[in-house]
Subunit: 625 residues, 2 copies
């Protein structure tokens, strides 16, 4: 035997030089020196993932049939598959980014936490041998065998509707197909050629007033598009209780389900159109919502959510095929509906817990999700306690005379000068002011309080103090921006509005306080306060403390987290593990029914004061009063 | 303490006398002496199964609340629940049949084998505690917990459509419900009160020409009704090949599926109406059919069944919910479609194997299922080999001039007197003769052969022999019953008919012979020959051997088994274990593609003779020629 001849391979980037026997398989060499190259099929020439680039083709063996099949276009650009070529001379080999085997980490925008991209969907490229008289296995068996032989996934089932398309797809694609496999157990889609890079999902946040979808690249974890629209169920009631009352028959439950589903289908189409995607490339959805929205989207009778003792039909996570819900994604796409905690504590609270990470914190934290119902969660990795407060829609701009949603024309920031009572304000999109959104309402009440124009009971001062105060008794109001000052109409805050704010903030504060008391902790123990909700990041924290909406913790401990529920849905969409976590959380959270707490009424009444009847609970602002 | 007082209990029937302490629980006494009494819940007063009858109520403690709930009507008849009463005096206790804990065995009519009744459905009665403010578990969780607590079945899921009805059913029934549980894993139905005795299933046999359903009591294994009708797909072709050609688009596949499904729905309604049952009490279906029927009912594209290399879309058993197929049973009923063996060997062959029991025989057996395609299976518990013969529809009365199905007016038995050639015959239902069914055709040909009116080549004798022979050459025919003899029309058998019979019987014989050859066995090794098919039990075995349709085995080894495929479907309906067996069989049967056997053509040609070119293969009738 002749002595072994050696060649030198230089790997870029990184610059590692490796000596190898002439004729060695390039992939083997790379594996031997632990170069992190992707090779999903383990070197069988099937996955097309171990792509490398080389300038000098003479240093490698000739292009193979497999390479022509797998990377026809890339060949011209100097690409090769490392598993298919052997080294016959000194070579310089470049590893493109997509071939490097790194753990993908991604920041889900809007949430504070990073999550590892581990979707429940996997896509695999398959070259299946066509049938012959000697090999008459069924189409289904050929597919199953290929998935097992190439990727080691045993005994996958095949979606029944997909089964009907199997013969056509396999033959039209010349037996080269990509399978989308759900949770390593069911083939839910089969596509011509290699589409392993294309996998999308949607995270759905069904709010009482707003429906939002996020279209996400499942493998990159990247947000592609977001669409939102008013919840069309509002025509049957602004709040969940009215909608529950409306849904008193099977037909009406079905109608309410259809309203959400058809809206989602429109949003899906919009998002797909903008992104140039087909809905059938969406293999997954996660859905969050409060308990009523949870029941509505599943078509479950919500009646008993509204009747004592307020039990849901089901609380565990639900997985259903898109077609069974009427959602127009891939027909076999899996729709994961978040678990709920109790009759008034829904999947949105679970998603809040997931996205804020409170469940794995070492320190004591509180998460508030402010809305018509405000969810409060307290705890850390050792245990969580939660309640739901009937805070009403004041902070969403409803039940407030000049209130409006946080949209163009809404005053989102406001300050009243303490002497002349002139008003500075900021309008969303800088347009003409039309009304007040939640953060504007809080600013207005806090400013009036600072100016001494309302007392700690919430009573507006006498109109003699300033011409901006008009009317008497319950009809009294303070003109923030008059028509003459450029508003479309007089924008006022009324005595009644102030009462609404008092009730809302008292409900929220009472929820926080009672949970702290039950947990036997004080404000000093609290290391973080997450505030989620419709305000987004526009809430003025000092003003919020001023009126007693938030407990008196140092501002640096408060974190505004925007749509935490939506963020939780997005995180769960790309992480199988987080769904398991969500199920565990939903079972373990200790639910407190506020109304049956003995000190609820007294606490609530005391919290109606600004900032509270007991000023010692607001030490940091005590001096202002 | 006072000495223990004893009482005597006399158990009927059987007459066992037992002494027990006064105050003992009756069920405990019965268990202590190993009386085989049912007690599904283990004495918790929940299942209502441990019913006993006593004449003298004073010997037992008073009727309890549980008894009033469970057996309100039976109480008046002297029934009690053994777990609920204690013995306070000498008593005579009668065990009614339904309370005795015996292994239920049942003969499935039409098949030869007994099968243990072990349906995949279980029904359990539940008393669920209603929610309170202290116990706010969801409706679903309450149901799941009750199933686990009372019957030890953990983690059952709940059918999604049923989930929608959950709140209503639970509350309308005052939280006393019966759950139907599929395979110990999914609640598919929930019913008011105790309906544990009511569970039905249907076995479906989809033949190329006839669709049959059998309505069965799942727990008693008893046949309640059977309905059948012509397969409506015949409008798109008498044979499967024409129907496969017709189904060249998605729409047509769907149409063919709908034709069968809507026919089945009609049959289901008929059967339910006659039996006074509601379709929603049918929790299960099993379906057999040849490969084309298998594909049609599942809506699978059958195209490639008809194109070399003849591969099916899927061969493994399919389980789908009734609603996904459009079958109007309980919406979540499980429909089990039999596995198939190969492109030309369907679930009917698997069902034949199940019902004849050939797969567990010690001896070598053959099972023939004669139809347009004839399935032949040979083997025993050590292995099975099978093939499909294109025998054509002659024995079903088609492609034969005066042929007809085995219905009123068909001549089913026939004999020709050897001297004067007068004809004796028997007509189904004793009516005026209209034509010949399969068994009549065989009798006619065999009789002509015996009389020497056809030779071993199948050629009809000269018309000079008898005026019953008319015409010349290929147009020659033999008049069996003329109009003047009372027939509605001249009933004849033509030269062409004889050719059809020759081809059919040659195909079947060749199938048997080639399998025996491949198995390396001779006729002497054969211990049983099962003959299934449209003839029912009317086939004349001697005549069948005479023409060489059946191999020359002693008549006592031949067993006519009627609709063996339907019997297999019925057996699998009440036996979970047999379904597992069916899946194993479908994978293990060694399929032989006759057309690619090298000696097929020669064997077929030799088998065209009556009974065969080689008379030594028909030793028992050799002397007749």
């Amino acid at each position: 035997m002749s002595p072994k001849e050696l060649v030198t391979i230089s790997f870029k980037p990184g610059g590692m030089n490796v000596e190898a026997e002439r004729g060695s398989c390039l992939l083997d060499v790379m594996k031997a020196v632990s170069l992190a190259i992707r090779s999903d099929c383990g070197g069988k020439g099937i996955c097309g993932k171990c792509r490398v680039i080389t300038k000098d083709q003479t240093s490698l063996t000739q292009v193979t049939r497999a390479e022509k099949d797998m990377i026809p276009y890339q060949l011209k650009l100097g690409y090769r598959l490392a598993c298919e070529c052997s080294v016959v001379g000194d070579a310089t080999v470049y590893l493109p980014k997509e071939s490097r085997n790194v753990v993908r980490r991604i920041l889900v925008e809007g949430a504070q936490r990073r999550v590892r991209v581990e979707p429940i969907i996997r896509k695999v490229f398959l070259r299946i041998s066509p049938p012959t008289l000697q090999d008459v296995r069924s189409d289904a068996k050929r597919l199953q065998d290929a998935v097992n032989e190439i990727y080691g996934i045993k005994g996958v089932s095949i979606d029944y509707q997909l089964m009907k398309e199997l013969p056509r797809i396999l033959r039209n694609s010349d037996w080269r197909v990509t399978a989308a496999i759900l949770d390593e157990r069911e083939v839910i889609s089969l596509e011509k050629g290699n589409t392993t890079e294309e996998a999308y999902g949607i995270a759905v946040d069904i709010g009482t007033s707003k429906v939002i979808i996020y279209l996400i690249d499942l493998f990159k974890g990247r947000l592609i598009a977001a669409e939102s629209v008013e919840n069309p169920q509002t025509k049957h009631g602004e709040d969940v209780i009215s909608r529950i009352s409306y849904s008193d028959s099977k037909q009406r439950v079905r109608e309410m389900q259809q309203l959400v589903i058809s809206t989602l289908n429109k949003l899906i189409l919009q998002a797909c159109k903008k992104s140039g995607l087909k809905p059938r490339c969406i293999y997954e959805a996660t859905v969050v919502g409060n308990t009523a929205m949870h029941h509505f989207i599943l078509g479950l009778q919500p009646k008993h959510l509204g009747l004592s003792p307020y039990v849901p039909v089901v609380a565990t996570p639900i997985n259903e095929k898109a077609r069974n819900l009427g959602l127009r994604l891939n027909t076999a796409a899996n729709v994961y509906v978040f678990p709920i905690i109790a009759g008034f504590l829904g999947g949105d609270a679970v998603a809040d817990i997931i996205s804020t990470g409170i469940y794995e914190s070492d320190d004591l934290e509180i998460a508030l999700d402010i809305g018509t119902n405000t969810e409060v969660v307290i705890g850390n990795k050792d245990g969580l306690m939660a309640c739901s407060c009937a805070s009403g829609p004041a902070f969403e701009g409803a039940h407030v005379k000049c209130g409006m949603k946080a949209a163009t024309g809404a005053i989102e920031r406001l300050r009243i000068e303490t002497k002349k009572f002139s008003v500075d304000y900021k309008v969303i999109d800088g347009s003409k002011p039309l009304g007040l959104c939640g953060s504007g309402i809080i600013d207005a009440v806090a400013s009036l309080l600072k100016c001494g124009l309302i007392d700690r009971n919430g009573a507006l001062a006498d109109s003699s103090l300033t011409p901006r105060i008009k009317g008497i008794g319950k009809k009294k109001s303070f003109v923030l921006v008059s028509r003459t000052e450029g508003a479309a109409r007089d924008i006022v805050i009324t005595q009644q509005d102030i009462r609404e704010v008092q009730m809302a903030k008292a409900a929220i504060y009472t929820g926080c306080y009672i949970l702290m008391k039950r947990k036997k902790v004080s404000l000093r123990d609290l290391k973080k306060l997450h505030v989620a909700g419709a305000f987004g990041n526009y809430l003025d924290l000092e003003n919020s403390k001023m009126i007693g909406l938030l407990p008196d913790v140092p501002t640096e401990l408060i974190s505004l987290v925007g749509n935490a529920a939506g963020a939780g849905a997005r995180m769960a969409l790309i992480s199988k593990k987080l769904r398991e976590t969500a199920a565990v959380i939903s079972r373990r959270v200790d639910y407190v029914e506020l109304a049956s707490e003995p000190d609820f009424q007294e606490e609530f009444t005391s919290a109606m004061f600004f900032p509270h009847k007991d000023l010692n609970r607001f030490n940091s602002i005590k001096k202002l009063f």
